[in-house]
Amino acid sequence: MSAVPLDVPLPPLATYALRLGDDALILAQRMGEWIASAPQIEEDVALGNIALDLLGQARTLLTYAGEVEGAGRSEDDLAYLREERAFLNLHIVEQPGGDFGVTMARLLFFSTYQLGLYDRLQHSSDPTLAGVAGKAVKEVAYHRDHATQWVLRLGDGTQESHRRMQAGLAAMAPFVDEMFTGDGLEQSLSSAGVAVDVPTLREEWDRYVGSVLREATLEPPETTWTARGGRRGIHSEHFGHLLAQLQHLHRSHPGASW
């Protein structure tokens, strides 16, 4: 429950685990919003499963971040009691789900990135990170497949589904570059064999996403601006609302459990 002030820097490894854990946690929250709102109950279950996979990854990564930090913070402390500026997730995971096309565009973009990341990270010299990635890589391969199937069907479907899938890609386009930006912390951790240097994942990402969009008869989306700053705790206006929902129960009933 201890509140560590923002100006106390975390150990680099804790920061790294927190970044990956926050990506998974926040996307789990966004995917979970579809439960009982998806087009069919079967899709409710599919999206709920994906959310739970991500939540599982988040729990392990946040727990590990807390252990490395060594200040006694648990996964719950990190998930429920941090302020907005202390979250280190990418902008793409915090954006509102929008319609189904937006959600599938996001899932295609992010799971393709995450699959490349985990695929490398399972060979990390850090055994915990390697273990999380080795388990999660199969889960994320399924997430990417699910998104791919839908992007193909919506893109190459009716005129209306094509239009909305194209709009979904456009809505997510500004958040792609940030996934591959990286920084000094990740570079030095990747030199040590611990982390993955994300710019090296871009080529494979472009190739896979490009091939899906071509087959789906969709145009690669263009954007006039790109989001940045998520890894430093700078977030979009949507994030505070998301956190309010995510943290409300825990903060209203501190220490509650079942």
Partner: protein, 95 residues
């Protein structure tokens, strides 16, 4: 709503190698490929299977309840069709 509904598929799951696929239920999906994926999510979340079949419900030809008597009743009194009139040797383990 009905025209927005996806077609129905029957789902068969094989729980492990060597066993047959067993009917476990049905679900909606936009097409057969997605039906396999939906079946994975709905019916194999707890390690229930190693293989899935899906069949469009419309492709299943079923016997009619009206024909129940003519189909099945005549077998009821023909006990000689059951292999119960010989002794099983003690050495036979798996019969």
């Amino acid at each position: 709503m009905s025209e927005r509904d996806w077609p129905l598929f029957e789902v068969f799951v094989r729980s492990r190698r060597g066993l047959s696929h067993v009917h476990v239920g049905s679900l909606h999906a936009p097409d057969a490929e997605m039906a396999v994926r939906n079946a994975r999510d709905v019916y194999t979340r707890r390690n229930e299977g190693v293989s899935i079949w899906v069949v469009p419900t419309a492709a299943v030809i079923a016997s009619s309840p009206d024909e129940k008597d003519t189909f099945f009743d005549p077998a009821g009194d023909k006990a000689y069709r059951h292999p119960t009139f010989y002794d099983i040797p003690a050495e036979v383990q798996h019969l």
